[in-house]
Amino acid sequence: MRTDDLVRLLATGAEPVEPHATGRRFTLAVGSGMIASALLMLNLLGLRSDLDEAVCLPMFWVRLGYVACLVWASLLAALRLSRPGRRLDWVPAALVAPVVMIWAIAGVALAEANPGMRTDLIFGTTWKSCPLLIAMLSLPVLVAAFWAMRGLAPTRLSLAGTVAGLLSGSVGALVYCLHCSELEAPFLGTWYLLGMLIPALGGSLVGPRLLRW
């Protein structure tokens, strides 16, 4: 077929395109992924029993803020990476900032703590299960985020896969906050981060294969 004929074929009867398709697709993906992840958490893990008391603790909100900032920044990055020619600009800095903040708080906490207590601050009581549970809760969001990106046009596939993984990891961590009783910054800066990086690594590995178009 000649290119002119292809052009005619594509243009004939071309339907209007709905605006804001990118944002809607991601809202749908993250929304449904988060609901699935929350159902998974409620069924397998359950809410922490003292949630009503925990919400009075400042660190409960610091933790929620830390994770929510990562959700927001990775969502922005995912939106940008899904559109050809869109630059990331300051978004990588927004991704790093919450981690730097939590490490700064962790540094103060560790410096002020009794030296014998420091390992407790870092390891808490659930360090073995926390990263794996966050990674598990991220799975529905990971599937949804890849679905969203596959309908768009990422051109840097490995990076887009990483960010889709990070988005799902941070949403998984957000859901996990309602179950988890660890509130120490050194713990959050280590094991929560590790839990979010597991799906990010997975995403970077499968991105080039699954996101190709």
């Binding site: 052009v7 074929l9 243009a11 398709a21 990118t22 899904s82 050809p84 046009a153």
Partner: protein, 187 residues
Amino acid sequence: MSEKGRLDTREQQLRQSLLRGLDGDASAYHAFLQELSAHLRAYFRKRLYRLPDEVEDLVQEALLAIHNQRHTYDAGLPLTAWIHAIAKYKLVDLIRRRAGKDALQDPLDNASEVLTAADGEATEAHSDIERLMARLPDRLRLPILYTKLQGLSVAEAAKVAGMSESAVKVGVHRGIKALAALIRETP
């Protein structure tokens, strides 16, 4: 007018055609794709000078990609950056498939170049889209055949094909995506 001024005007005109096309103006969209194909041809020809036979195939593949992903264009951003990113992605993808990285003449180019040259001289593409279409199942092939090649309306095509109108619309949409995938896999 300066070179930059001319380029800005061209970008503005092309952008207007695309935006009207995205609103459903088929003739503006046709003009957009027509001019775009000349720019893509010049862009690829310059970079694939060792694979001249691939140029027209890649033009068609990029056109299909731009059509299928046209919902990812953000009206607030320069058109050049969007087109360039897609063209470059398709170029790199082709070169990876050919596994001969030395075929790429000039990988470090910048976005403004994508509209600087136009080449209206189409050579024959190898991938015969009509032949590829024959490989599509009827539920995808017939909607394209009736609405796109014979120019029937969606309602008319639905009647002739014995399908619902929404099935025709979905068939066109999925069919063109399937064509883009077939054209990619064809050696």
